[in-house]
């Protein structure tokens, strides 16, 4: 095996993990978060929600099926969730130097190098995860010899601004016109809308869409603390006075809640997996969902005209809200999946139905 460089993962509390580099060789820092999904590293790495974060998959062998070819479909890369890797670094237990898949064109290590993202293997990711779990999350840095860096907390900055689109872009030519507020949108949201006869107008996170002529508004997922996006919240609040259907996902869900007047808080144990069960309150229907969030809506602060739409079966936290009379709803989990289970894709149909109804 070739000579590989060693590097250390240093946590805020002083814990040090020794690992071996398989990506770009440069010291970096960020917030260290884990996720327990067993598939989908190309999707996760390109998910803008991971901006500023050092990603730790708990599944030990990563890189098995390489990285897919870069083909474009409908103006979007066919196999990724954005046009680049967003996380700061990747930390894993065991790296598959040799990969095998019909749709791959390069190894994970090569991709990380191309995108200048460090990657470490040989780390006890289970031990690391247990530590992160108890701290909620922690700051950390990857340090190559003689190249120390400062700790950096992405939650103190408006990182949404960094991942949002700088300009307005349009996709498709469908029947329904939807304004997509891009706080760090995963492309699969756009794909799901396009599939449903929608024209997507993707606008920057702070764009004032309140006067737009449209059939619906979509609030995307995104990274960081919702409190950093007050500008977006103000726009949404105005929009709530109108009757145009709104749907939100993840950060979009939290922004919707804040716009409605509810509060958000940081969870003790963040949800970072593909196996989160959610239920509609008062019903016996459960769905398995893909989740990646450290903040949640405080149910108790929901105004009277709003109600919980979903609740997490594991810890009882809020997983979505809806307006009691108007066509506004949002989900904390990821109905667009990619990666993850596709059980709640029907929510996109609900959104389109709402638009169809309000069109009439």
């Amino acid at each position: 095996m070739q000579n590989l460089k060693k590097a250390r993962l240093v946590l805020q509390d002083g814990t040090v993990f020794e690992g071996t580099s398989f990506g770009y060789e440069q010291s970096v820092s960020g917030e260290v978060v884990f996720y327990t999904a067993m598939t989908g590293y190309p999707e996760s790495l390109t998910d803008p929600s991971y901006k500023g974060q050092i990603l730790v998959p708990t599944y030990p062998m990563i890189g098995n099926y390489g990285v897919p070819v870069e083909t474009m479909k409908d103006g979007l890369p066919a196999f990724f969730e954005s046009d680049r890797i967003h996380c700061t670094a990747l930390v894993i237990s065991d790296y598959s130097f040799a990969y095998s898949h019909w749709n791959s064109e390069k190894s994970l290590g090569q991709w990380l190098k191309d995108q200048k993202v460090p990657g470490l293997f040989g780390i006890d990711t289970r031990a690391l995860t247990k530590k992160l779990r108890e701290h909620g999350s922690m700051l950390g840095k990857i340090v190559f010899a003689g190249q120390d860096v400062e700790f950096y907390d992405p939650n103190k900055e408006n990182i949404v601004a960094q991942v949002s689109t700088p300009e307005i872009r349009e996709y498709g030519s469908g029947k329904y016109k939807v304004v997509l507020v891009d706080c760090g949108v995963k492309y699969n949201i756009i794909r799901h809308l396009l599939k449903r006869n929608v024209t997507v107008k993707r606008v920057p996170w702070n764009y004032d869409f309140t006067q737009e002529e449209c059939d619906g508004v979509f609030l995307s997922n995104g990274p960081g603390d919702p409190a950093q996006c007050e500008e977006t919240v103000l726009h949404i609040r105005k929009m709530l006075d109108r009757n145009i259907p709104i749907m939100g996902i993840c950060l979009g869900n939290q922004l919707m809640a804040r716009a409605a007047g509810a509060e958000t808080y940081k969870l003790k144990y963040g949800h970072r997996s593909h196996n989160q069960p959610v239920m509609e309150p008062g019903k016996n229907r459960c769905y398995i969902t893909s989740q990646n969030h450290g903040f949640a809506i405080d149910d108790k602060t929901l105004p009277d005209d709003w109600e919980p739409l979903f609740v997490n079966v594991n810890d009882g936290t809020n997983e979505g809200i809806r307006h009691k009379s108007k066509p506004f709803f949002s989900a904390q989990f990821h109905p667009e999946a990619s990666s993850g289970p596709v059980d709640t894709e029907y929510l996109f149909d609900e959104f389109v139905k709402n638009m169809e109804k309000s069109k009439k």
Binding site: T36, H101, R133, N275, P341
Partner: protein, 1071 residues
């Protein structure tokens, strides 16, 4: 819906190939769920060695055949409100469908709980099933029937190449084959039409990946997939014969979730409530897929998935059947979350099948679309290298991992292309020969990811082999080797070149060096959520791919380690699981913490809520020592898990591990043939004469002393059976030439073979050399049939009092001499009150559950209390107090083993057993024989009674058959013998006589309901003819008896006991 208070559960009966221990596990879990609900459970299962048929698991237990007639009788008597059909494998499912079709369930108003019967029927019928799937746009393999060449060509055009041609209505794949173009198709179809008027033209999915999902659905339509699994071996090899990993390794997110979504679509459409398994094949070059199979019940795969994830599928399925929603059931691992989630794994598991094909004469070793393996193991780790190496050791066929074996592969190319049970080692050999990953992939179609990982192991082996001492190995290299699953033994063998050291010494050196360097494994938990939430789980595995141990150790000497029995194999299966579970229960009862080590996913002992701490890991010296170092237990129990732990006793003892109960030195004195023999001589105990010999001349000299027949047991076997009885010089030479090598390095043990002797066994428990409980049982067959194949009667019904007294005396003397504290078993030959000892094991034996349950006194519990140091009272239950008889009968799986000769000998070949209780000997015989697949013949019986002795044995039986109105047919010799004794029966001609009426025609046309064929001798003609009859009986599913004593007992039973008089009594009703 009516209220359900009493629930009937059908078990799966004896273990057989394709239906093994996994159903004891599923059934036990379901019964636990029923009990938790406070409902009353009734269980029908004749498999007496199972955990589910133990006290306290079900409320009522019937040791009766799981057949519609018997089940109906039980329903009539018990009047259950509901019935569970999906926990007893195909046996229970088929029986349930039949009861439904006969209207029995309706008649007695028994509700089928969980998946409706119609859904089961829909998945069982291929035609209906693919129709159902097509309704929802799900793809199944495409196949078109053709009656002539023109239609075949048209079908080929429609389906596209490559294709498979199958001739309809032929046995054994005659006329089938693979074709890549029109030319090949024409040729193949032409020949196929000569075998059959119709052929099937099917798309070939050869080389596609095989993937499985375990799916669960509740009555509210909530669905989850608990686990997916990927086969290492591509399509073409039965999933039961494949190496399997979980979760899938080579699937992208999109593939994984596409198949997951389809699985959920299917379970909803079919309407299953509970669990089902969906098998796919997936194109390795696109996302195209086909659904190959859906099993609407708990299966071997679901047991594996449960163990792989920690998600108790059977328990949950039972709860769902009782009406719960997934979200209403607690996750029993985390205790804080619910069953409505999908486990996240932060490790990989690898399942490897265990084959015992060497045990069978004539069987084909190729593995393919039908199952031949008899057991399996599961290895857990954090890299594929680690689990495959662990797993190959666990399988227990003398291999030390993927590399470092003294294993010769004769024809690597042939082995790679046409796999046998040795293919994985052919891959290792191919790497040694310099084959590239690409080349091996071309030949095997195994995904390159797996092959690359295997190559990593090979490459590291090459590195290690460069060293000459272990202390020369760098710490980094050593650690890397451990992370790739190398055992200390492998490392020792590869690095230490000092030939004066034994393998064990080499291993100890590696261990010492490694511990000095601080290279020790860590212990990780299986918590179903990959660490996302805190979990108090006791389900553990050992890995070198980690830096931190999840557990904190008490080190208070209050834990007791029980070593399990490993992979089920011929000679060691569910009975030892029962022994281990009994030991664990006794340990808990005595106030100690129980620690279990075992790696067999089909067992109850590896259920994490059976013991206080479960290490799902190797039962090797190295691993047990690792765990003992961490646990610092009060001691280790080696006597309840069969031979594997028993063999470790001495080596553990040498490392100062506290072996509980009988001392390791005593175990060694019983195990070592020479030492044991000397001891018997000193105690004046008789043994058959035997000698260990190294040349043919020596063997002749020994024959002059004792005469024929002889039992001969080579230490090195080339092929065929390991042990055999020979009656003359020709047979001796024939056997030695064929099967064994005799030399200084490979001695042969030759033993005098006593004919017409009864075989008697004693199962006993002693404390400090004094017997506290014992059970004496006898075999129906004369000595010469392996005790694992024999039919055993307890209490012994036909022994002289004098024989019993002598046996007790000998057992007492041995117990005293070896100062036994714990379980032991001895086997004897008895002829005219002349008693010879043939075997002595200082551990629980195969028959412990049988005698314990018949006697209603748990011998293992008693033994465990003794081993823990409690002073116990002698058990004063006399066999004369029993007003009933127990009979243990063996289950054979010859139907699955193509071409194997279904004949019994000194080597064991049964795969399972049952034990039934009767009012008298014949009733018990009848129940147990019916439980292992025999049927009461309708009319016609064929007798070919073999040597004179068995002819005499069967004379009376033939008479009473005729008196009962049966038609008896015989082969020429048998008919002549009967005629000489005043009985005239029609003659059927031998297969090689081209005369009518011929036996083969009668068998083929099912004109015979039962075949009695007693093998005569080893002459070629006899073997050929006898073999053909026996094999045809098995292939046409006609009950076959090959032992005169057993045949006679069965014939008496069917003639003396009327079916309607068979008592339908539960275990507790026998007082």
């Amino acid at each position: 819906m009516k209220e359900i208070n009493k629930i009937l559960l059908l078990g799966s009966g004896a273990l057989k190939i394709g239906e093994a221990g996994e159903f004891d596990y599923s059934g036990s879990q379901a019964l636990k769920a029923i009990r938790e609900e406070g409902k009353y459970s009734v269980l029908i299962n004749p498999n007496i060695a199972t955990v589910q048929t133990s006290e306290g698991v079900a409320d009522k237990i019937y040791f009766l055949p799981v057949t519609p007639d018997f089940v109906e009788e039980v329903i009539r008597k018990e009047r259950p409100d509901g019935i569970l059909l999906s926990f007893g494998g195909q046996t229970a499912l088929n029986c349930g469908v039949e009861l439904y079709k006969r209207g029995v369930l309706e008649k007695y108003d028994v509700a089928v709980l969980g998946t409706p019967v119609q859904s089961i029927i829909d998945t069982e019928d291929r035609e209906i099933f693919s129709g159902k799937l097509h309704e929802i746009g799900v793809k199944t393999p495409r196949s078109i029937a053709a009656d002539n060449m023109e239609q075949a060509l048209k079908a080929a055009e429609e389906l596209g190449f490559p294709l498979i041609i199958r001739a309809a209505y032929t046995l054994g794949g005659l006329g089938s084959g693979f074709c890549a173009n029109m030319e090949e198709l024409k040729k193949l179809a032409g020949s196929a039409f000569s075998y059959s008027p119709q052929i099937l033209v099917e798309e070939s999915l050869k080389g596609w990946k095989e993937i499985e999902y375990e799916v669960v659905r509740d009555q509210y339509d909530n669905c989850i997939t608990v686990c997916n699994m990927e086969n290492f071996d591509p399509l073409g090899i039965h999933t039961g014969e494949s190496i399997v990993v979980a979760p899938s390794q080579t699937l992208s997110n999109s593939e994984y979730h596409k198949l997951r979504e389809i699985a959920i679509k299917i379970i909803r459409h079919v309407g299953i409530v509970g669990e089902c398994n969906v098998q796919y094949c997936l194109d390795p070059n696109s996302e195209d897929y086909r659904v190959i199979e859906v099993n609407a019940r708990l299966s071997r795969s679901s047991a594996l998935a449960s163990k792989a994830t920690g998600y108790p599928l059977a328990f949950v399925a039972a709860k769902l059947a009782m009406g719960y929603g997934l979200h209403e059931i607690k996750n029993s691992v985390t205790k804080v979350t619910t069953a409505c989630f999908e486990p996240a794994l932060d490790y990989i598991v690898c399942k490897i099948p265990r084959w015992d094909l060497n045990k069978f004469e004539g069987v084909s070793k190729l593995i393919g679309s039908s199952m031949k393996s008899v057991g399996e193991i599961m290895a857990i780790g954090r890299t594929f290298e680690e689990v495959i190496q662990k797993g190959l050791r666990m399988v227990g066929q003398g291999m030390h991992g993927f590399v470092g074996n003294n294993k010769e592969v004769k024809d690597i190319d042939e082995e790679l292309v046409n796999p046998t049970d040795n293919r994985i080692f052919a891959i290792a050999a191919a790497f040694d020969k310099g084959y590239s990953v690409d080349k091996i992939h071309e030949m095997t179609r195994i995904d390159k990811w797996f092959l690359e990982r295997l190559k990593n192991i090979h490459d590291l082996k090459e590195e290690l082999a460069k060293y000459t001492t272990v202390r020369g190995v760098t710490p980094m290299m050593l650690k890397k080797a451990k992370q790739m699953g190398f055992s200390d033994f492998q490392i020792g063998r590869l690095t230490i070149k000092d030939e004066t050291l034994s393998a064990h010494e080499c291993m100890l050196r590696v261990r010492a060096y490694r511990k000095e360097l601080g290279i020790t494994p860590c212990i990780k938990q299986i918590d179903t959520l990959a660490g996302e939430y805190p979990a108090q789980t006791n389900y553990l595995y050992v890995t070198y791919n980690g830096a931190e141990t999840d557990v904190t150790y008490e080190r208070d000497g209050k834990s007791v380690v029980v070593l399990g029995s490993g992979a089920y194999r011929i000679g060691s299966s569910v009975e030892f699981d029962w022994c281990c579970v009994s030991a664990v229960n006794a340990i808990k009862k005595a106030g100690y913490r129980s620690v279990m080590i075992n790696y067999n996913p089909e067992t109850v002992s590896t259920d994490y809520d059976t013991c206080d701490r479960l290490y799902f890991d190797e039962l090797s010296f190295e691993r047990v020592m690792d765990i003992v170092d961490l646990e610092e237990p009060k001691g280790v129990i080696v006597s309840t898990g069969g031979q594997i732990p028993n063999n470790l006793a001495m080596r553990l003892y040498e490392q100062h591990v506290n072996i509980l109960g009988t001392s390791a030195l005593s175990i060694d004195r019983a195990e070592d043939r020479q030492k044991f023999s000397t001891m018997c001589d000193q105690l004046g105990i008789d043994q058959p004469r035997w000698r260990e010999l190294t040349s043919i001349d020596d063997i002749y000299k020994f024959i002059d002393e004792v005469g024929f027949p002889l039992l001969i047991r080579p230490s090195y076997v080339l092929s065929g059976a390991a042990m055999n009885v020979v009656s003359n010089k020709e047979e001796l030479l024939h056997f030695l030439e064929l099967a064994a090598e005799v030399s200084k390095d490979h001695p042969v043990v030759v033993t005098e073979f006593v004919q017409q002797a009864k075989e008697v066994e004693i199962d006993a428990v002693a404390q400090e050399g004094v017997i506290k409980a014992y059970a004496i049982s006898e075999h129906v067959e004369f000595a010469g049939v392996h005790s694992g194949d024999a039919t055993i009667v307890f209490p012994a019904q036909k022994l002289y009092i004098e024989t019993i007294r002598r046996i007790k005396k000998i057992a007492r003397a041995i117990a005293k001499e070896l100062n036994i504290s714990g379980p032991f078993n001895m086997q004897f030959l008895a002829k005219d009150n002349d008693i010879k000892v043939i075997e002595c094991n200082l551990r629980a034996s195969r028959s412990f559950p049988f005698v314990s349950k018949v006697l209603k006194s748990n011998f293992v519990e008693l033994a465990t209390r003794i081993m823990l140091g409690e002073h116990v009272q002698e058990l004063h239950k006399s066999v004369f107090d029993l007003d009933y008889v127990g009979v243990k009968a063996s289950q054979f799986s010859f139907a699955r083993l193509l071409k194997a000769d279904p004949v019994l000998g000194v080597d064991m070949s049964s795969t399972g057993e049952v034990g039934c209780i009767g009012e008298n000997y014949y009733e018990a015989i009848l129940k147990s024989m019916l439980s292992v697949g025999h049927r009461i013949p309708e009319k016609n019986i064929l007798i070919s009674s073999g040597p004179t002795r068995s002819k005499v044995e069967l004379l009376e039986s033939t008479k009473i058959l005729l008196e009962k109105g049966y038609n008896v047919f015989a082969t020429a010799g048998t008919a002549k013998f009967l005629e000489d004794n005043g009985i005239n029966v029609p003659v059927l001609y031998w297969p090689d006589e081209e005369r009518e009426p011929n036996i083969m025609d009668y068998l083929k046309n099912k004109k015979i309901d039962m075949v009695v064929n007693i093998p005569k001798n080893l002459t070629k003609r006899e073997l050929d003819n006898g073999y053909k009859i026996r094999r045809a009986a098995v292939d046409y599913n006609i009950p076959l008896l090959t032992n005169a004593r057993l045949a006679s007992a069965f014939i008496y039973a069917i003639c003396k006991v009327d079916k309607k008089d068979i008592a339908i009594k539960s275990w507790d009703e026998y007082k």
